[in-house]
């Protein structure tokens, strides 16, 4: 291949036109999704809408968790803490003084919080900011360690937040939790947040910052020797992930309307870990696919906990917990057959789709 052709090919691949084409295609998908959400909101029943809301929240959580664990390669175990921070902050902010008085029956709520009541949107954003500020403060000590140690330290932080929530009676209402949170969350909010998260993280990962984060994952020594401040970039990924996780927590609180520290145990983190590992650590596409599969699949699998009638011969009684057993089996099978998760580290790209659907045509970036 001659020099000019190499230049032209590489330039086109990184060109503005290719990017604009991809943006237009993505916009079309967003419009299509908007239409589908409208239809779902109009004709879907309460149960279906609930599942769709959970799918969107899981997408938000998985994609942001994947930013730090998958893309940046810093194995950490704390998202339950950020979800809890977002959920509690936003719920306490939207609850009216009367609602707070009804909730805080053992000890009254602290005065500076008791009289506050703000609308949903600012409360969600503040929920995200609270989580992000904690992430930033926590990032300074935790990113002094790497690998297994990082996992242990972040796991500890996750537990600390939960235990604090359990004991700060006058702020979180302790183990009683908060009840009767206004059900502000709807499909537009949850999917809006999921799309915002995807937009921000995909654009970030596809930029120079994304290359820096991936460089840190693949070879931190090389990244640092080439002038990349790995500590600052880990902190950036961590804080940004916490911001979205906090907002997802706010959505969750206003969806299920009752929160207590029990909701934010390590199990939440564990579920997210399953999602991102199953999807493929480092693949945003994989996180989305696995999040949908997980949120929807865990509802589908409710069937295995019901009594099952086998061809009218006999009936298997319903066993509570069968769902988790089935999940475990699916997970083991998936890990055996897809060692690197569903997507590995590959990503969906419009280029790939165009080349697959219309082979033989020159779809811009690639010479045929």
């Amino acid at each position: 291949m001659n020099r000019e052709a190499s230049y032209a090919r590489a330039r086109q691949r990184w060109s503005r036109r290719t990017r604009r084409r991809n943006s237009l295609l993505s916009l079309a998908v967003v419009l299509l999704l908007t239409g589908l959400l409208y239809l779902a909101g109009r004709y879907g029943d309460e149960y279906q809408i609930r599942i769709l809301n959970m799918v969107a929240i899981y997408i938000t959580l998985a994609v942001s968790y994947n930013l730090i664990n998958g893309i940046t390669g810093q194995f950490s175990l704390e998202p339950n803490a950020f979800v809890a921070l977002g959920a509690y902050s936003s719920a306490l902010l939207t609850m009216t003084p009367v609602e707070k008085e009804m909730n805080f029956i053992i000890d009254p709520c602290v005065p500076w919080l008791a009289q506050v009541a703000i609308p949903f949107l600012p409360a969600v954003v503040i929920g995200g900011i609270v989580a992000a500020v904690f992430a930033l403060l926590m990032g300074f000590p935790v990113f002094r360690v790497r690998g297994d140690y990082l996992a242990i330290v972040t796991l500890g932080f996750g537990e600390v937040i939960r235990v604090v929530a359990n004991n700060l009676q006058t702020i979180t209402n302790g183990p009683l939790g908060l009840k009767g949170i206004a059900a502000h969350t709807n499909l537009w909010w949850t999917w809006g947040l999921a799309l915002l998260t995807l937009f921000v993280i995909v654009r970030l990962v596809n930029s120079s910052y994304g290359r820096a984060l991936k460089a840190i994952r693949q070879n931190e020594l090389a990244a640092e020797s080439m002038g990349i401040n790995s500590f600052r970039h880990k902190l950036l990924a961590f804080t940004l992930a916490a911001f979205f996780e906090g907002m997802a927590g706010a959505m969750l609180a206003h969806l299920i309307t009752t929160i207590s520290p029990m909701l934010f145990t390590f199990f939440l983190t564990f579920n997210l870990l399953i999602i991102i590992v199953l999807g493929g650590l480092g693949s945003i596409t994989g996180s989305v696919i696995a999040a949908i599969g997980f949120a929807w699949g865990s509802e589908l699998l409710r069937a295995v906990e019901e009594p099952i009638n086998v061809f009218g011969w006999f009936t298997i009684p319903g066993i509570p917990g069968m769902r988790m057993v089935t999940f475990a089996v699916i997970l083991i099978a998936a890990m055996l057959f897809w060692r690197e998760g569903i997507m590995g580290r590959r990503e969906f790209s419009w280029q790939w789709l165009l080349d697959t659907v219309m082979p033989g045509r020159n779809n811009g970036a690639r010479e045929q």
């Binding site: 020099r3 990184w14 654009r203 930029s207 991936k214």
Partner: protein, 262 residues
């Protein structure tokens, strides 16, 4: 003023002194070779200069802009930003990323746009990215890897990976380039081409180069000045011809004469 001035640079690992009292002055534009038998402490010197390990004693002064900076105690990324780039003896590319991305990554340290600029698609970031792409393509052409731009770096041949490391180091716009065994694993033809490449980039980018190499033909043919390390101690320094006939150097490489005679 010298570009680089180390004095009494010493590195101890527990009871082992890997490098002791290393003193070196580099003038701008020089091409200097650092040689010595295996385990002499050459890579340790590079690791101290680039901040990968912190020197136990001594100082490293580096000219950056108008002033001189003390490099001991700085982090590798800070030292790189001041103008020292390196390649590695055991190649340290990002094997899963494309050749192009490996070079693009090295521009990131100089990026001015904050993280939200690419997210919002700000023109300031777009301009920076376009400059990065053009610059990286030019560097890839320079090291003759343009046609490999989209391939995974891990799939390149050994010699190509070494050249990619050089392109990546150049992308950080260094004034001092440290090459750790750039010719290792290359055949004679590739080695000859590499010598030309190193001379060219020195002239074109106004570089000062310090290199470690075992291939004596390569070192003698390329370097203007040599420094010889043995057991962490500088045993000789001077022009290649002087080094070639230096008794102490021959002893370090081949052992003492009476032993060699056996």
């Amino acid at each position: 003023m010298n570009l680089l001035q180390t004095s009494n640079l010493t590195m101890r690992f527990g009871g082992l002194t890997a490098v002791s009292g290393f003193t070196l002055a580099l003038e701008p534009g020089e091409l200097v070779g650092l040689i010595g038998p295996n385990g002499a402490g050459k890579t340790t010197v590079f690791n101290m200069l680039t901040g990968r390990i912190r020197a136990s004693e001594g100082s490293i002064l580096f000219r950056s802009g108008d002033g001189q900076r003390q490099l001991v105690g700085l982090k590798p990324n800070q030292i790189n930003r001041l103008g020292i780039a390196r390649t590695f003896q055991n190649i340290q590319l990002l094997p899963e990323m494309s050749v192009m991305e490996n070079v693009l990554m090295a521009w990131h340290g100089r990026l001015k746009s904050p993280f939200w600029a690419p997210v919002l698609g700000l023109p300031s970031y777009r301009r920076e990215e376009e400059a990065m792409v053009e610059g990286s393509l030019a560097l890839l052409e320079r090291v003759n890897l343009l046609d490999q731009a989209d391939n995974e770096a891990g799939s390149l041949a050994y010699g190509q990976q070494r050249r990619l490391e050089i392109a990546r180091a150049l992308a950080t716009r260094p004034t001092l380039l440290l090459l750790d065994e750039p010719a290792a694993g290359m055949n004679p033809r590739e080695t000859a081409a590499l010598m030309d490449l190193i001379r060219e980039i020195r002239a074109d980018f106004g570089l000062t180069i310090l290199l470690i190499e075992h291939d004596m033909k390569f070192v003698m043919g390329l370097c203007e000045r040599l420094v010889v390390l043995d057991h962490g101690v500088t045993i000789a320094a001077g022009l290649p011809e002087e080094i070639r006939s230096n008794e102490q150097v021959i002893t370090a490489y081949l052992g003492e004469r009476k032993h060699a005679a056996h």
